[in-house]
């Protein structure tokens, strides 16, 4: 399961407005990053765990959010344990895991469209200084859409390299990936135009 993939649900966390969730995430992050006392960090960890329980997304989904940290956290913990001692090491690493988990929970319980709409609303004041906020929101949507497309392209290129025994050749990997990406971009441009972008 990919981190940050929306999982439909009807819990309180799901129903909370996207803007409030994003603001809450920012607020909790600020508090957690400023805090150094074990009590505050324990409270943040407890609150995140409670929110996961309320959202009812399950342990597997929770693990998927923090899974990318599984290689970093042990190293970080070990280094800080040796340099700062056990308590600061545990405080620093557990708040990192808690914040990543909380960000993951926001994405798990909020439709991408709602996140983008909330960001769009947040950016609206920029329209006064000439920023095209609608265009910015479209670009954000396209970015989210393009991640799996480019990932699939990268897999195809890697397989093609392997099939020809060139898995270690950086150029044989990079050139088709870039060319393929640009072609995909041109095709997407045609599709956007066919579907009435700028009408």
């Amino acid at each position: 399961m990919t981190p940050g993939t929306y999982r439909p649900g009807t819990s309180l966390v799901h129903r909370a407005p996207a803007g409030a969730k994003l603001a809450g995430l920012a607020g909790v992050s600020a508090v957690a990053l400023a805090a150094t006392s074990p009590g505050t960090v324990a409270a943040v960890v407890g609150a995140v765990a409670a929110l996961y329980a309320v959202a009812g997304v399950g342990l597997r989904a929770a693990w998927a959010q923090v899974r990318p940290l599984r290689l970093v956290v042990p190293v970080l913990l070990a280094v800080q344990w040796l340099t700062l001692g056990p308590v600061p090491a545990l405080v620093l690493t557990s708040r990192l895991v808690a914040l990543v988990a909380l960000a993951g929970l926001v994405l798990l319980t909020t439709r991408t469209s709602a996140v983008l709409a909330a960001i769009g609303r947040g950016l609206r004041p920029l329209a006064r200084v000439g920023v095209d906020v609608g265009r910015l929101a479209l670009v954000l949507s396209l970015a989210v859409r393009c991640v799996p497309v480019v990932t699939a392209l990268a897999h195809r290129v890697r397989d093609a390299c392997r099939a020809r025994g060139r898995e270690r050749d950086v150029r044989a990997y990079a050139v088709p990936l870039v060319v393929g990406g640009l072609r995909q971009a041109d095709a997407l441009g045609d599709a956007l135009r066919a579907r009435g972008l700028d009408d």
Binding site: Y6, R111, A185, A194
Partner: protein
């Protein structure tokens, strides 16, 4: 990549004189045949097809003459286009909604010139591409359909999206990321998103090339059931049987324009004649 896609779309729109939002495209009086819906009016009845006219159309792309003098008028409900790779048939399809504009000659859709009134033409003419991954522009299934529905309140838009997805058996996937759909479902989503904009003509450029037999049949059945006028470009000659008229494109020209039977027979003869005699004997 995204910046390139958006910039490409905008640049090409600017090149072709796309109108500013909300402004009705001017229509020259002589270009509108009597009885045709004026520009800017959303068609009330999707089943009323378009009159598409190509007048001595030449297209030169990348230093190559892709189309060399095409003169046709398309009014039939089902028009098929067949031809070899590189014959110009995809370019011919792209001319119909202004994705490609003629180097010489002109293309008129209900009297609207695709060069001047590209945006208005694209509101009438929906386009299904070969690769659904290149035309699904939003992260989730419902969002992609919603992108086609504009100018209505959010609640009305959600209802239209729900109905559209239900009609193609995609309702259960509404909130799923589009990339998790199967190839067949992706192409159905692409068609659903095109139809949500209520076009009067649907142009499909080899829409079944990436699909297996079952999904090809399913997609063909969906196309056949559409009330809209359809122009279908395909290498699958079995799909041509359901057409009212088939154009055969070869080397940038329409070399046959007939009922499906004679047109497909003409295309087969062309392929046979082009193949070396030794291979012909082997097949």
């Amino acid at each position: 990549m995204i910046a390139r896609a958006v910039a490409a779309a905008r640049r090409r729109n600017a090149d072709r004189g796309a109108r500013t939002p909300g402004a009705a495209p001017p229509v020259p009086a002589d270009a509108v045949p009597s009885g045709v819906v004026p520009a800017g009016v959303v068609p009330a009845d999707a089943a009323t097809g378009c009159v598409v006219r190509l007048e001595d159309v030449h297209v030169r792309l990348g230093g190559r003459d892709v189309l060399r003098g095409v003169d046709v008028e398309l009014t039939e409900r089902r028009v098929g286009i067949v031809g070899a790779n590189g014959s110009g048939k995809s370019t011919l399809a792209r001319l119909l909604n202004g994705l490609v504009v003629p180097t010489a000659g002109r293309v008129l859709v209900d009297g609207l010139d695709t060069r001047r009134d590209g945006a208005a033409v694209r509101r009438r003419v929906g386009f299904v591409f070969t690769d659904p991954d290149a035309q699904i522009v939003m992260p989730t299934v419902a969002e992609d359909v919603a992108y086609s529905v504009r100018g209505v309140p959010a609640s009305e838009r959600d209802r239209i999206v729900r109905d559209a997805l239900a009609a193609r058996g995609l309702a259960h996937h509404a909130d799923h990321p589009a990339h998790l759909l199967s190839g067949g479902q992706k192409q159905l989503l692409a068609l659903t998103s095109v139809l949500a904009a209520r076009p009067r003509l649907v142009v499909a450029d080899e829409p079944t090339t990436l699909l297996d037999l079952r999904n090809t049949r399913r997609f063909a059945a969906e196309l056949a059931a559409l009330p809209q006028q359809v122009v279908l470009v395909s290498h699958d000659l079995t799909l041509m049987d359901a057409m009212d008229r088939v154009l055969v494109v070869d080397d940038g020209r329409v070399v046959a324009d007939d009922a499906p039977g004679p047109a497909v027979a003409h295309y087969r003869r062309l392929v046979d004649e082009a193949a070396p005699a030794s291979r012909r004997g082997a097949s």
